[in-house]
């Protein structure tokens, strides 16, 4: 990213968003670590883990918003990239267990030992090295997205067809990873992690650091997205979203653009997954479930499609609601609430929380004598891809 792009992407809204994320990323871990447990301002460790999870979801939402909000590609399989990133990290964490596994096998993870596997499958090689795993976190989802996108965008699969085949993709991966023969631990997935880069994953310090890192990743992801959408490329993406064939007749190679953002977005989702796994302590094929991907899209819709900060906000709000409603007296009814939330948001807040908020302020803006211009994020109502 050039300095020029950085300054262009940093308007006041973006700066505010970044400031809040950065403040959370610094203050929450500090309060958790430095203040005495039980004091009013101390954030308990379980909340750090919980919010760490939300931040990872926010990154995933950001990645979906980049392609859906700005380019009109509705992927119902983004959970797959998230999960693949998670698996890459999970494989590293599994290899770190070493002889501390229940069978004490220095090479083979426990699930391989008890299924009588004799040697490590080739695709597990290299995952004992962090740099390799970190590379794979980006590379595997990126490669899958590239191959998938190359096929799909070149043959101009669009709209619902694309959505449905992305769903088919994640569903196929779900079935595959469920198979124990695939060598990824089947339904139980990868779990019982011990440490990451030598630090105990369950230690408070590690959790706090992971939380801060997740916030950092959110910041970097946000900056990348902003840089993309505020560049001329961002304008081309919106042009593709609104009138794909018009863009093509202007001489833009639409498939390359789509492929580019799709791949970038998949890599971001992979990073989100990689940060998610050490914080929740398990990665399992159910992350590939089509329902998860649909839910992630809903976060974006709730927060505001085409508003990057909104997407992140949506992820946090919906997941917080989920956490809140699944406990206590409301537990049996939480699906009613969640379902109703989705219906009401699409009916009453088609622009999502942030989009509606922006639209609400529009008259105010006009009154203050500012030229009535459209901003990339959110003021304009995105036309749905068909």
């Amino acid at each position: 990213m050039t300095p020029h792009m950085l300054t262009r992407s940093l308007d006041r809204g973006a700066t505010m968003f970044l400031a809040i994320v950065a403040a959370c990323g610094i203050l929450i871990p500090l309060s958790n670590l430095l203040l005495p447990a039980g004091s009013f301002f101390q954030v308990p460790t379980y909340l750090v883990a919980l919010w760490g999870k939300y931040v990872c979801y926010a990154i995933l939402a950001l990645s979906i918003d980049l392609i859906w909000g700005y380019c009109g590609i509705l992927s119902l399989g983004h959970g797959a990239f998230f999960a693949l990133g998670g698996y890459a990290m999970g494989m590293y964490l599994m290899r770190q267990i070493g002889t501390r596994g229940v069978y004490g096998n220095p090479i083979l993870p426990d699930f391989m030992v008890f299924l009588n596997w004799q040697k490590l499958p080739w695709y597990w090689y290299g995952f004992d090295m962090f740099w390799f795993a970190a590379l794979m976190v980006l590379f595997v989802p990126g490669l899958l997205a590239f191959c998938f996108g190359w096929l799909a965008f070149r043959s101009r699969v669009t709209g619902v067809y694309l959505s449905i085949i992305t769903q088919a993709m994640t569903y196929a991966l779900l079935l595959g990873f469920f198979r124990n023969d695939f060598g990824f631990g089947g339904n139980n997935g990868l779990t019982d992690f011990k440490d990451i880069l030598g630090f105990n994953v369950q230690a408070e310090g590690t959790r706090a650091t992971l939380f801060a890192l997740s916030c950092l990743a959110l910041i970097v992801g946000f900056l990348i997205c902003r840089a993309i959408v505020t560049s001329k490329l961002g304008k081309v993406l919106i042009a593709i979203r609104d009138a794909e064939s018009r863009t093509r007749f202007l001489g833009y190679r639409v498939e390359s653009y789509k492929l580019f953002v799709f791949t970038v977005s998949a890599c971001m989702a992979g990073v989100a997954g990689a940060l998610y796994v050490p914080q929740v302590g398990i990665i399992n094929p159910s992350e590939f479930a089509p329902g998860n991907s649909i839910e992630a899209v809903i976060w974006v819709a709730v927060g505001g499609r085409g508003t990057l900060a909104g997407a992140a906000l949506g992820a946090v709000v919906v997941n917080y609601a989920k956490t809140f409603f699944t406990s206590g007296v409301l537990a049996p009814y939480w699906l009613f609430m969640l379902g109703a939330l989705f219906i009401l948001v699409t009916l009453l807040l088609p622009k999502g929380i942030v989009g509606t908020f922006n639209a609400w302020w529009e008259p105010f803006k006009a009154k203050n004598g500012v030229a009535n211009e459209a901003a990339e994020d959110g003021v304009s109502e995105p036309k749905m891809a068909e």
């Binding site: 883990a49 004490g104 206590g328 929380i353």
Partner: protein
């Protein structure tokens, strides 16, 4: 240059939006942290899915714990305090299980948690229980290969279900040829591995064993049932050992019935089909197919009859069935109460140390005992499906079978034992006299 003022506008609005949102979230945070545990009750966590795919099995277990707590409170509670259930819904979502476990222990400060059904949910919460040092009672039959300090396994280990069932078929039905059919996940995989090794040790040839795995929720069984039929017509008595999971069983049995596979030709013995699962099927065509469990509703003992009566009264449903994992919860719950009363504290460390050796009556007339490996002794029953959706016990083990944490049939684990009393280790290698891995 083109949008120089645009962002400023958007900025001021999204900033306000964000501020409002952040304020909302902070309030939310405060509301979570603000919750305080009341001191005059003992909190018991209930961690069973009430929605999603596993709700079908787990909801009953939630009700069971609520029922047991209710009964216990009628007797005056524990240590003079009332028990209070804290119910959460992990929604059949494995990461959510871990999150909810953490919430129960940290926020609600529960003394013990009863929960989980699938292996993966147990695996998901395991690190949480270890880290926060709390107690989980796990009531479902499972693949074994685990003995953790913080977990008490009240369901059957493979040697308390699978192996006795195979023994029965071998002896009584003279079965020579075996189909091991299961859903592709770790419990069937491990059980079938164990059974395969066991069968081979009994002289069954490789070509007389057919292993088949299907995905979760598999609904089209035509091909597989036809394959079983084909496999079964090789001139040797054939049986199917089914580790097919919950939802897929109904279409499986429907297909068996329709393709005319009678129990007297090819019996099916199942480890995951209980009274609840049968409630969804017309059982007349299934007469004679088998299930192996440590409890059946139809077992006539005073304890069981009393339990069923009270349970049906509690749920206000005179037809409500009982099943094996429910009995496991009953035993586990009573063991926990006894242990707490023994050490006069709900402190997890003390209770964990007190639990091994605790005995509690099971509903089938015996007394189950918590073993040092955190598994319990259980009787094994083989039941035949009857026309009314119940089971008729055709065989049972002469005495209670102690649960093995580590299977003797598998290479990786044959030298391992779990012993939390003397060795303080869940995976102790008796050959090398070492506690493996991080188990201590």
């Amino acid at each position: 240059m083109l949008t120089k003022s645009t962002h400023d506008i958007a900025a001021s609005f999204s900033r306000r939006g964000l501020l409002a949102a952040t304020a909302g979230l902070m309030l939310g945070l405060a509301s979570i942290t603000g919750a305080k545990a009341a001191d005059d009750t003992i909190k018991v966590g209930v961690l069973h899915s009430l929605s999603g795919t596993m709700a079908i099995s787990e909801t009953t277990l939630k009700d069971t714990i609520l029922f047991l707590i209710d009964e216990q409170n009628k007797k005056g509670g524990v240590l003079g305090k009332k028990l209070e259930a804290v119910v959460v819904d992990p929604a059949s979502n494995w990461p959510l299980f871990a999150e909810k476990a953490r919430e129960l222990i940290t926020k609600d400060k529960v003394a013990v948690v009863f929960g989980c059904w699938t292996s993966v949910s147990r695996k998901s919460v395991l690190p949480v229980f270890k880290e926060l040092n709390n107690i989980l009672f796990y009531p479902v039959q499972y693949e074994g290969e685990e003995s953790e300090r913080n977990v008490f396994y009240t369901g059957a280990a493979p040697n308390q279900q699978a192996i006795p069932a195979v023994d029965y078929l071998m002896k009584d039905e003279k079965v020579k040829r075996w189909v091991l059919a299961g859903t592709d996940y770790v419990y069937p995989r491990t059980t079938n591995k164990i059974l395969e090794a066991y069968l081979k040790s009994k002289g069954v040839a490789q070509e007389d064993i057919m292993i088949n795995y299907t995905p979760f929720g598999h609904s089209d069984w035509q091909t597989i049932v036809a394959d079983i039929k084909k496999f079964g017509s090789a001139g040797k008595k054939t049986a199917v050992v089914s580790t097919i999971n919950g939802d897929a069983n109904v279409p499986f049995y429907k297909e068996l019935g329709n393709q005319g596979i009678k129990a007297k030709d090819i019996p099916v013995v199942a480890f995951s089909v209980g009274e609840e699962e049968l409630a969804g099927i017309d059982t007349k065509p299934l007469l004679g197919h088998l299930a192996a469990w440590n409890y059946f509703q139809s077992i006539k003992t005073p304890a069981n009859e009393k339990f069923i009566k009270e349970w049906q009264a509690y749920t206000k449903n005179p037809k409500r069935t009982t099943n094996d994992p429910m009995e496991a919860h009953v035993i586990g719950f009573n063991m926990w109460v006894k242990a707490v009363e023994k050490v006069k504290s709900t402190d997890p460390d003390k209770v964990i140390d007190a639990l091994p050796g605790i005995e509690a009556p099971n509903l089938t007339g015996g007394t189950s005992k918590m073993l040092p490996n955190h598994h319990i002794t259980k009787p094994v029953f083989i039941g035949e499906i009857k026309g009314n959706g119940q089971f008729d016990v055709v065989w049972k083990t002469p005495s209670l079978v102690p649960g093995d944490a580590w299977s003797k049939e598998l290479d990786g684990s044959k030298d391992l034992i779990g012993d939390w009393v003397e060795k303080k280790c869940g995976n102790y290698n008796v050959k090398t006299n070492k506690c493996l891995g991080s188990g201590s």
